[in-house]
């Protein structure tokens, strides 16, 4: 059913730390590797070794240059489904293939019901959904629904593949609906941000902005130092000899 649940018991989602993400793409490849055999399998690659490569990915890492009056910095920016509280991608679906789970808030696609009309991808402002032209259906991030509840995995592995792979711990997984959860406290502590809040989709995922720049480092672009008082003794003698 494409009508949204009035509320979900949990709001499972990701928190992505833009301060520590190094843009290594480990989350991208880990996602592709897990999900090409997972719930939405396969993540088709079209012409993978040819001249015009195409394919389905759930997670893509952009890089931006953010310039303010304080200077510029490079920000690596992983982009994936935000599992919104008001996902228009679900309500526009004419077949009931797209749905939001009442239990944990995860937005999923039932591949067997999808007619491939692509309207959900138009309704998503974040570009989270990608069409698989080989199978003719829409695909999207599942929040690794087949990992996080998987009894066959060790408990510490029951997190999305992208979170497990991140070498800098820039990705965090948990219940954002529970204010006491570690992930919610991290959002409060670091001022986590929702993307495009003005559109009213109420994304579950949060992004932690890069930390403020430290004032401790040497200012290499500062003007040259003033001449100091001439030094006496042996070093002063050398300085005078070299200055002549």
């Amino acid at each position: 059913m494409t009508c949204l649940p009035a509320r979900t018991e949990k709001k499972l989602g990701l928190v992505i730390d833009l301060d520590t993400c190094v843009g290594c793409q480990a989350c991208v490849t880990a996602c592709k590797e897990w999900n090409t055999g997972g719930h939405m399998a396969p993540l088709t690659d079209i012409n993978p070794y040819g001249a015009h490569v195409d394919g389905v990915w759930f997670n893509r890492v952009h890089a931006y240059e953010h310039t303010t009056e304080l200077g510029g910095r490079t920000v690596n920016f992983p982009r994936s489904c935000l599992h919104c509280e008001q996902p228009a991608c679900v309500t526009v679906c004419p077949t009931g293939a797209s749905y939001k789970r009442a239990a944990d808030g995860i937005v999923l696609v039932d591949e067997d019901k999808c007619i491939g009309c692509k309207l959900c991808s138009w309704a998503c402002p974040y570009g989270a959904r990608e069409f698989d032209s080989d199978v003719g259906v829409m695909k999207k991030c599942t929040l690794c629904v087949d990992r996080i509840y998987n009894d066959n995995l060790a408990e510490e592995d029951r997190v999305p593949a992208c979170v497990a792979a991140c070498p800098t711990s820039a990705r965090h997984f948990g219940d954002l609906g529970d204010p006491a959860s570690a992930i919610s406290q991290l959002v409060t502590e670091r001022g986590g941000i929702a993307l495009m809040p003005e559109l009213g989709y109420k994304p579950t995922n949060r992004y932690l902005p890069p930390r403020a720049r430290s004032e401790r480092a040497a200012k290499v672009d500062a003007p040259a130092l003033e001449p100091i008082k001439a030094e006496g003794g042996f070093l002063g003698w050398i300085d005078r000899m070299l200055s002549n």
Partner: protein, 312 residues
């Protein structure tokens, strides 16, 4: 947005078809035009033919067209599903009206009722089509108060100009229908100009800053996540050069509005069959012009996901 021809043709053809069906249902059912067998047959075949051709064309856009029947299920939340339900439901009164008006040569009574219900169904279906686009928040050019009225006005316009050509062709033309076709063409012109003006001045609050959550200053894309074009860029990254857009807008105005308006105005003063020929040319030019208009409707629409790729 990528202007897929299947969708461009679908919205244009069904718009004209439902406009014509509504007019035939109203005028025929209430007896304003005589129940002429050949006029009725050609008229209903044209209206339903445009609708069926459009609906078939729309399934060409689907990845799994064999599952299209599933699209009737989610009318509670989805405008696309509502469109599917409304379009199919409208066939019932349309068929009854066609049987009564064309085959049984009757108007009034249950035929009038079927005609009016068919006209209402046609209007509702066009509204649902318009709402599919008007409800999409990521595309500011569509998510505006101009979109829904545009679909209604253009359906009425193309349907009326087509109906006028049909009536004129059967020597059943009337000044009233001709005047209505001319007026609604001028209304369509005005609405399109107003829409373009609104879109050209549009200030969109969503920026690369809000898209990335990086507050203040400028956010410049320095590296894409992929080196080749992906689905998002193919579907949502369509760009049209400003000079091409200006030229296509002029072509739209000439074909869809100016030429039909002039031809219809001339038709007032022409004897039959010249007035019928002028009316037919007006309908053909307008349909061609509306295909260009609909192509531009997609090509000029910008999706927020392109902000992630450094495009405005």
């Amino acid at each position: 947005m990528h202007p897929a021809f299947s969708v461009v043709f679908f919205t244009t053809a069904t718009g004209a078809g439902y406009g014509l069906l509504a007019l035939l249902g109203l005028l025929g059912g209430l007896g304003f035009i005589p129940a002429d067998f050949w006029l009725g047959l050609v008229g209903m075949a044209l209206a339903l033919g445009l609708i069926v051709a459009g609906l078939l064309s729309s399934t060409g856009h689907l990845g799994r067209p064999e599952r299209a029947w599933r699209a009737f299920s989610q009318w509670r939340s989805s405008w696309l599903s509502r469109e599917g339900v409304a379009s199919v439901a409208t066939f019932i009164p349309a068929t009854l009206f066609g049987i009564g008006w064309v085959v049984l040569d009757r108007s009034g009574g249950w035929v009038a009722a079927a005609g009016l219900v068919a006209a209402a169904g046609a209007m509702v279906t066009v509204c649902t089509t318009g709402m599919i686009y008007a409800s999409l928040k990521p595309i500011a050019q569509w998510h505006s108060r101009y979109t829904l009225p545009a679909y209604l006005i253009f359906a009425a316009m193309t349907g009326s100009v087509l109906a006028n050509a049909l009536f004129q062709g059967f020597k059943l033309g009337s000044t009233a229908v001709l005047t209505w076709a001319l007026l609604v063409t001028l209304a369509g012109w005005g609405w399109k100009l107003a829409t373009w003006r609104y879109n050209d001045q549009l200030e969109i609050p969503t920026t690369a800053n809000t898209a990335t959550g990086l507050a203040g200053g400028t956010v410049r894309s320095i590296e894409w996540p992929h080196t080749e074009e992906n689905y998002l860029l193919k579907e949502m990254g369509f760009r049209i050069a400003r000079k091409h857009s200006a030229k296509l807008r002029r072509i739209t105005q000439a074909l869809a509005f100016a030429a039909p308006a002039i031809l219809l105005a001339i038709a007032f003063f022409l004897p039959w069959p010249l007035c019928a020929i002028a009316s037919a040319f007006a309908a053909v030019a307008q349909f061609g012009g509306m295909l260009v208009e609909r192509w531009l409707f997609f090509a000029e629409a910008k999706h927020t996901v392109m902000l992630y790729y450094g495009r405005e």
